[in-house]
Structure formats: structure tokens, C-alpha cells
Symmetry: C2
């Protein structure tokens, strides 16, 4: 995270329509990929869509925020994996993501690290910059286990 | 878009930590890709990050919403490409995306389609479900030109 509270960061990327409901996402210095309208809105299966990118942003920001705290606090963890679920529905007469649930499963090295990891997740909940930027209610439901010897 | 206002849609995906500040995004039936903390937060260059996924969701949703209206209203357009810019900074003592600007360049078949395309962008601004879901101020600045004969 930025040390100075006056710092600003600018992010950019590009999309180019290909055909039907499909386009290609570009970002300088990165490998691009296809994005499309999902099948439920008369689009295409098997291609990433805006809806999934949105919840993936929340899921990945939760992970990167956790990694940042784990580094700072020296948490000895073995693995981190997480599923995200987002509910899209009409609310206030608009179609929007009302609820997002992030379910990280974290394996720590020792039993004694479980509490530390859980308290870290509380901090992640407050510091994820994507969660801070959205209206959807974001809930993190962590599961933390110690590695079986 | 959904016809029935009672319909709900559920989206899911998964992330798995790999090493350092890197993870891999999975979604059933789609090709996964790597995501990492960006270099400005002590991460890695050349890899998609949560910040970019977030603005890519806005950029691609703007496009797919446009494609949906273009289909319904029979707009004869030749190409659509769009750059998105997002400003991440401290606001209300939180790091968040405060402003997102989407700049679509649309080439239509005929001069007479320019007005139609511009009025469509006004509708896109109100109907993009990702913009509806976020706190950031989203501005669309369209440029519409007719194809040069």
C-alpha cells in the first residue's frame, strides 16, 4: 500500500470490439484476452465477461491485500485459495451486484497462526481497495486450518 | 438484459495463490490467467492486477451494453474501441477508485447514424450494470465518426 495519503495512481486499459458480442482486452506490457457478453444476456459461453471480471477484481484484491498483511506481519502460511460469488439482481430499479461473498481457505504452518490469520482477514475486509470502491455488500467468510503434520 | 425484474444471476470464480504476490484465476469452462499485486504496491510487472480487472470490468460492460442497444436499435456501426482510465486515491480516509473515465471511439456506417450512436451512449451510461454497482464516478466521453468513403 502507498505510504503517502496524497499519492494518486492511474490505471488504463483498452478494449476493441471483434464481432458479435465479443471484444479483446489490451493492457500495455500484458497479455490480452477476450471478453464477451455472457450467454444469459444473449452472448457467448467459455469467454470471460464483465460480470466475472468484476467479482474477480474483488476476489484477487482480497488475496493481494492478505498477501500484503501476511508479509508485513510475517504470517507463515502454506496456501491460500478463494472462491467468490456475486449476486446480480434488480435493486433500486437498476440491475446491479448487490452481494459478493469471498470464501478464502488458508492453510497456515502452525495451530498458533490460526488466530493471527483470522484477525488479518478482519483487516483485509477494511483495506481491500476494490471493496472500498463498490456499492455491493462484500462479506468475507474465511476458513483457516493448520497444516496436518 | 434480463426481461424479468425478479430474475437473479449468480457468478462465481476462484483464485489460487502461486508464490510471492501472484495467483491464478480460474472460472469453470474458461481459460484462466495470472493475477498479481501491481509493481507500485511491491508486486510484479507484466501481470494483470485487481486494479486493472476492476476498470476492465467497467470498460467491457460499457461495450457489451452498447452492443446490446446497437442490436436492439439496429445501429449500423463499423468498429468500437475504448480506453478506460481509473484514478485510485485516498478519499474518506480509504484508498479507492474515485473516478473512472471511459472513452469509446465508434465508427458508424453513415453520417446519419452519428446522433443515434451518441444517444445510445447516454442510455449505456444509465444501464451498465458494473457502473451501477460501484461508488466511483463513471464518465463516458464518446467520439463518434462516420466511415470515410
Amino acid at each position: 500500500m502507498s505510504e503517502g495519503k496524497n499519492r494518486e495512481f492511474l490505471y488504463k486499459n483498452q478494449i476493441k470490439w471483434e464481432s458479435e458480442k465479443k471484444g479483446f482486452l489490451f493492457s500495455e506490457g500484458k497479455q490480452g484476452f477476450q471478453v464477451a457478453t455472457p450467454p444469459e444476456f444473449r452472448g457467448h459461453p467459455g469467454i470471460w465477461n464483465p460480470e466475472e471480471l468484476f467479482i474477480a477484481a474483488v476476489n484477487s484484491c482480497t488475496m493481494t491485500t492478505f498477501l500484503s498483511f501476511a508479509e508485513k506481519q510475517g504470517l507463515d502460511f502454506i496456501s491460500y485459495e478463494s472462491e467468490v460469488e456475486g449476486i446480480l439482481k434488480f435493486s433500486e430499479n437498476k440491475l446491479m451486484f448487490t452481494d459478493i461473498t469471498v470464501k478464502p481457505l488458508i492453510i497456515v504452518a502452525n495451530e498458533s497462526d490460526i488466530e493471527k490469520a483470522l484477525s488479518m482477514i478482519d483487516m483485509v475486509e477494511k483495506h481491500c481497495l476494490i471493496s472500498n470502491s463498490i456499492k455491493s455488500k462484500v462479506e468475507i467468510i474465511p476458513e483457516v486450518k493448520a497444516k496436518t503434520k
